[in-house]
Amino acid sequence: MYASGVNGSGADAIVVRGLTKRFRDQAAVDGISFRVARGRFFGFLGPNGAGKSTTIKMLTGLLRPTAGEACIEGLDLARDLLAIKRIIGVLPEELALYERLTGEEYLHFAGRMHGLSKDETRRRTDELLDFLSLAEDRGKLIVDYSQGMKKKTALAAALIHNPKVLFLDEPLNGIDPVSGRVVTNLLRRLAAKGVTLFFTSHVLDVVERLCDEVAIIDRGRLVAQGSLAEIREGRSVSGDASLEDVFLKLVAADVSREDLSWIG
């Protein structure tokens, strides 16, 4: 169960304290705590299986934490889940779209589920379809979309109600470079307008370009949090080291390997 009473300053969009998720005896997320200020572009990084998606699932109410507490825009995750769902948008790693709807129908459905009027839903759907280059395929069933098109449709659905906080789990996976640029420009504009973005990605140079702040999780525990400069400073890494260098150092990844004996 969640404990109530998590505090956050008025400037914090996300406050997490001691968040833990155990699957049987294994801790997927182990007592992590962090804050994300409103309007920040927050990168949440970690190797495969580190607990990124589990954290997002807990913060969006899809998984119940084993322990810990979290607050989104001042709303307690344990008590105000429905209110939280009104103000967040979620792009999950595993897309679960209704594949027997057309892309346009799906966006209409998403808009209406968020309580938008028919006309407003229609207006926003048309704009989103145009913006994400999906207008030509608006009448195709989602099952016939490419992976990139599905990703863009899910992103459009996450945006249609103009959320205050956006959770994006690997949003650029499977998207072509042109759409990728369109999406990253859009995300930048959203952050500039005060939307808080909680973003995971394996593409570290994109994270480096976009995020104001990052947190790095490894085997369920937070190993660093702050701006890239702060993390470099805290870990005594040279000022020109890339995020990838910092990341590899923090997760203690051993990338040295001997050659395969039979190659060449």
Partner: protein
Amino acid sequence: MDRLIALVLVRFKLELRGFSRARERTLGLVLAIPGVAILSGALSLVAFFGTRTLQARNPELLLPVLSVLVTGLGLLWALSPVLTGLAFTETHDLTRLLHFPIPLGTLVASSLIANLAQPLVAAQMPVLLALALGLSTRLAAFPFALAGVVLAFVFILAASQLAGLALHAVSRNRRYHDLALFLGLALSFALSLVPVLLMAGAGRGLGRAVRLLAAGDLFALSPFAWGVRAAVHAGRGEAAPFLGFSALCAGAIVAALGLCVAMIHRIYRGELKLGGAGGGAATRARMVLPGRLGALVEKDLRAIWREPVMRAAFVMGLASPLLFLLFLSQTRAMSASGTWLLGLASFVGIAGFGANAFGMERRGLATLLGFPLPRFWLLVGKNLASIAFRLPSLLTLLVAGAFLASPALVPAAATIAISTLLIASGADNYMSILFPLTVPAPGQSAYGGGGAGGRGLGSAFLAAFALAGVMLASAPFAFLAWLPLLLESPRLWLVSLPLALAGATAAYLMLVSGAARLLSRREPELLERVLGEA
């Protein structure tokens, strides 16, 4: 040869792992073994004594009748992937192995050999032996008769493999895949009606049809029949026709395997593309029903109609009440008073229990529960869609009832069906929340099995109790609709029917209200269970 052995072994390993990783499958197999053994024994007896009897009484009919029967069975076997909903399992999908440098012939041969060791295939071995024994007039002829029967069986397996590959090629196009799935299920449903039709007196017609087909011996041209014809000739000691039909059957096997190789080759090189799935790319289709509830209901109805399995279920739902009526009409259960219609209406309503409110969502449940829709309305929307899905079959029943019973009973029957349907749907929400079904993981077929879980034995008992509860809870409302008939005072319906509907609606709303509170508390656990993350 090493590769052939490795391929056969990997197939066995996958099969075994399929059982060891899914207790339901293992349990299913264990439970099925006695049934399969009994069926195999019964078929063996039928094969042995059937051929002996025919040989003794109408020897001239043995060849044509066996040709017809073997062709029919062979076609059914070959089409079994379609009839079971295109249940391609990992082990049948040869195209997964195409990127390895394995000669295609080896690939096809390995699949054929591995098929011979499938439990259902192995269960046919006693039947083959019995058939060969039945056909052999002398012991010395037995090995040759058996060779003919085995050739016929191997051809059936090769044809089945060819049909499987053709279906795989077709299913690469989503629209054809959907069509094949729908037609396969419809065909399977039609075949399941055979016992009902036989009970309704169509047995004599079927016998006449077989005799008619056998009369011209047209099925001598069927490759499915060649092996068995060789066996018949071997049993009679006729060497030349035995050799001729054996050679023909062997040639047919080689041809089928050759076609398999050619088809794999063409699938691999993308030469069997059947066009894009597309359609309506730029057409606008918007949700028309008003409000969030309307959008939710419309979403479900659109998805149901476009999902071939659900569409097939819908069509079967339309036909089922009519078949039941046909069955009743044969058993003299229909009384002149027409009360059977009211009883049948109760059954139609109670069938709403077990609808599984979240069943249609599959992994989309995470998306649905991500929306800030009050859970009360979410459940009402899901129930309304489920009820709307059943309305056409209810309407079919009522129209048929109006003709077979009395039009005056139709409002009462409709009231009973809707009342019980409401209460069954409301109660079923608790089962959906407390005992959700695990859905297949991404990339696994929803129809292929192996990925989805069951609710377990404990929940089956609880479901039985809950069903009894549903029957009890809906009884007063059904009784209200029945009362005027018992009192022979039809005017009472003017009061009793609205009262029954209002009472059932109130009970339904109370049930949903409780279920919505339960859902709000258990949402994360529900998702963990449905998505298999628990």
